[in-house]
Subunit: 395 residues, 2 copies
C-alpha cells in the first residue's frame, strides 16, 4: 500500500481541511492518508479547542485513515522543530509523499527557495543574530535577514505568508532527512490562516474558534456536519480556561525557578510574575507582557511550558522521535499499519499505560489539559481516563 502524509491540528476540523484531504488523495494517488496531528497543546502555544479524541474522530470521519499524535516536544515548537518532528514521523510511517496547503500552491518555488536559502545558511544565521541583538523578534529578524540577502534576486516564494512558511519548513525538514518523501502542495482556498472572517464555505480555524468561544454565530456553514456536531460548547478549551492555573503557577514560582522552564529566558521571570499579580485574565496578562522582542506566539509557547512545568532538560531529552502514538484509524488505515508495522524503527504505541516513560511529557500535557477548572467534571474525568487507557479509535 502507498500512503500520503499530512500534518494537521484540526483546531477544529473545517471545510478547508476536507478540501485539503481530498486534494491530497487526488494529487498523491495514495491508498491511505496518514495524519500526524498535534495533541493537547498546539504550535501557536495554545490548548486545542477540543480534545485529541474528538479531533481524531473528525479526521477519520472525513477521509483520513490513520491519525498519530505529534508529541508535545514538537507540537508546541517554532516551525523548524515542529516540521522536523512531523516529517520524521511521516517518514517512520513509510509515507511516500506528503502534502501541505500553501498560499503559493505550486511546489517548484518551495524547492527553489529551500535550495537558495541553504546556500546562504551561515550568512543568514549571522544576520538573524545581529538583528535580534537590536531587540526584535526571531521571525522579524528572519524576514529582515532574508530581505537583505535576497534584495536583488528575490526568492520565488512569499515567506511572509504563514502557510508558505510552514510548507517551507516541511520541505527543509524533508531535505535534512535526505528527501525520503515526495512533497506536494495544495493551493489554500478561501480565508487566510489568521483571517477572522469567513469567505464562502471556508473559514480559517481562527475564525471558527472565535465564533465558538466568543459569539453565538453558528459554525454549521463552515464545518462539515459531523465535525460541527462533535464540538460540544460546554467542553471547549481556551487559554482563559487555564488562566487561574497559570496565574497560580506564576505566583508560586521564584524567578530563578522560572528560568529552568523551556523557552523562558533569564530576565523575563520578574516581568511575568509582576504581570500575573496585576492581571485577571489571560488576554490582559498577554497584553502586559508583550514586547517587540517577544511575539505573541512565542509568549504563548512559553506560557504553555510554564503551565505544564516542562523544563529545558526534559525537552532536550525528547528532541528525537522515539515513539509514535496511534490515536485512531479506519479499517483501511488498519490494513496500512499492518503492512508497515514490522519495518518500523520506533515503537507504535496504542496505550500510554504501556509506554508511560516514553510518553511522560504527553501524558502530563494531557493531564494539565484536563485540569481547567471550568470543565464539566464528567468530561474532565473522561479525558483523564481516556488518556491513560483508551486504545486507538477505530472507525
Amino acid at each position: 500500500m502507498n500512503a500520503a502524509g499530512i500534518i494537521v491540528e484540526y483546531n477544529p476540523f473545517h471545510n478547508g481541511h476536507l478540501y485539503h484531504i481530498n486534494e491530497t488523495k487526488r494529487l498523491s494517488n495514495a491508498d491511505a492518508i496518514v495524519a500526524v496531528m498535534s495533541g493537547s497543546f498546539l504550535q501557536r502555544g495554545e490548548p486545542a479547542v477540543t480534545d485529541k479524541w474528538t479531533r481524531t474522530k473528525m479526521a477519520l470521519q472525513h477521509g483520513v485513515d490513520v491519525v498519530v499524535e505529534l508529541p508535545y516536544a514538537f507540537s508546541t515548537q517554532k516551525a523548524e522543530i515542529f516540521a522536523i518532528g512531523a516529517i520524521e514521523i511521516l517518514h517512520h510511517l513509510k509515507c511516500q509523499s506528503f502534502c501541505f496547503g500553501s498560499e503559493n500552491g505550486q511546489i517548484e518555488p518551495f524547492f527553489q527557495s529551500v535550495d537558495q536559502l541553504s546556500k546562504k545558511k551561515e550568512q543568514l544565521a549571522a544576520l538573524v543574530r545581529l538583528f535580534m541583538k537590536e531587540g526584535i523578534s526571531y521571525p522579524s529578524a528572519q524576514t529582515k535577514a532574508r530581505n537583505s540577502i535576497f534584495q536583488k534576486d528575490p526568492l520565488p516564494l512569499d515567506l511572509s505568508k504563514p502557510n508558505n512558511i510552514l510548507g517551507f519548513h516541511y520541505m527543509q525538514a524533508n531535505d535534512i532527512l535526505g528527501s525520503p518523501l515526495n512533497p506536494l502542495t495544495v493551493l489554500r482556498k478561501g480565508a487566510g490562516f489568521h483571517d477572522a472572517e469567513a469567505s464562502g464555505s471556508i473559514a480559517s480555524a481562527t475564525a471558527i474558534r472565535q465564533r465558538l468561544l466568543e459569539t453565538s454565530i453558528s459554525i454549521d456553514d463552515v464545518m462539515p456536519p459531523l465535525s460541527a456536531a462533535g464540538l460540544k460548547k460546554r467542553s471547549l478549551h481556551s487559554w482563559e480556561s487555564y488562566w487561574p492555573l497559570l496565574r497560580y503557577r506564576l505566583l508560586s514560582l521564584q524567578p530563578e525557578q522560572l528560568a529552568s522552564i523551556y523557552e523562558v529566558e533569564e530576565g523575563i521571570g520578574p516581568r511575568l510574575i509582576q504581570a500575573a499579580l496585576k492581571c485577571d485574565s489571560f488576554a490582559a496578562f498577554m497584553q502586559r507582557v508583550k514586547t517587540k522582542r517577544y511575539t505573541w506566539t512565542r509568549l504563548q509557547r512559553m506560557m504553555t511550558h510554564i503551565l505544564t512545568d516542562t523544563d529545558k532538560e526534559s525537552m532536550r531529552q525528547a528532541e528525537r522521535v522515539s515513539f509514535i502514538r496511534l490515536l485512531g484509524m479506519t479499517e483501511n488505515g488498519r490494513a496500512y499499519i499492518r503492512s508497515i508495522k514490522k519495518e518500523m524503527l520506533v515503537p507504535l504505541v496504542s496505550r500510554t499505560a504501556s509506554a508511560s516513560d516514553l510518553l511522560a511529557l504527553d501524558i502530563k500535557a494531557a493531564r494539565v489539559f484536563a485540569s481547567a477548572p471550568n470543565l464539566p467534571k464528567d468530561y474532565a474525568d473522561s479525558l483523564l481516563e481516556q488518556e491513560y487507557s483508551t486504545p486507538p479509535l477505530l472507525l
Copy 2:
C-alpha cells in the same frame, strides 16, 4: 519595658485565646504581650481560615501588643521545628517570659519531663528509628518509645495531650537556646484542642472552623464580638478551596520532580499522582493516600509544600531565623518595639518589598494563599496587594 511572649495561630481567635492572653498578663506581670503568629499556612499543614491581617487585627483588639509572623519555614513544621522558630523569635524580641496553654496547667512537670527526656535522648532516638522501620508514624513511634523507656518511672506529664506536647517542645526549644525565657503555663479551659463540640463559651478552633465552613450554626457564643465580626463568610479558606490547584499541580509533576519537594519521600509520588487522578475533593484524596505510616497532619504538610512548590533546598536555607516580620502593633506595642529595636540581632521587616529575598518563601506562600479559585476577586486582589506593600497594622 518587660514583655511576655505567646505563640499563636488564631485560626480563628476565640474566647479561649482571650483567656490565654489575660492569664499571660496576670502571671507574667508584663508591660506588653508579644505574639508570634503563623502566617498563611499552619502547623497542621492547612491554610489559615482567614488571612494574617484579619487575624492580626483580632489579636490586637484583644490584648496583644505586638504581632510578628512565624515564617513559613517554621509555621508548617512538626512541633520540634515549629517550637524552635517561635521561641527563637520571642528571644530575639527580648521577651522575658513566654506562656502557653496546656492540659496539665502546671509548669513543674514540663521542667521535669524535659530534663528526664534529655537524659535519655540517644536511647529514645534509637527506639523511634526502630519503631518507624516497622511502618508506623513518627508521633506513634515517639509515644511507643517513651512508654517503653519510662515504663517503670512514668513522666509527670501526659504527652498524649496535644497542648502538653506543644508546650513540652517550647520548653525543650528554650532549653536548647540556654533558657533565656521564663516559661509559664495556663490550664486550658473548656474544649480540647481537637474537640468538635463547644463547652460553655469556649470551643476549640477546630470546632469553630467546622461551624464556619460546614454549617450555618452561629459562632457568636464562642468568639468575642469583634473577632466574630471580622470573619467574612465569603472569604474563608479551607483545603477544599485549593483542591483544583493542588490537583493540577500533582498532575503536572512527574514522580521524580515531586521527590524534590520538602517532606515528600521517595516512593510516595506515584501514589499521590494516582490518587489525584481518581479523586475530586481534598477530603477524598486524603482518605485515599492516608496510611499507618503517614499521619493526616504529616500528609497535609506535604500537600502544603507541594501546593507552594517549596523544595528541600529552600527549606534548608531557611532553617535559621534571619528576619522578623512585623504584622501589627498597638501604641503600647510600638513603644515596646522602640525600646528594643536597637539591640535586635536580626532585621525587623515592616514591608516585604524591602526584604523580598529574605521573605521569598513567605511571599510565595501568601500569593498561593490568595490564589484559591473560589475567593472573591476583590478580596484576593487585596491580599496580594497587602502582602507586598502594607505596613504593619496600627491599633
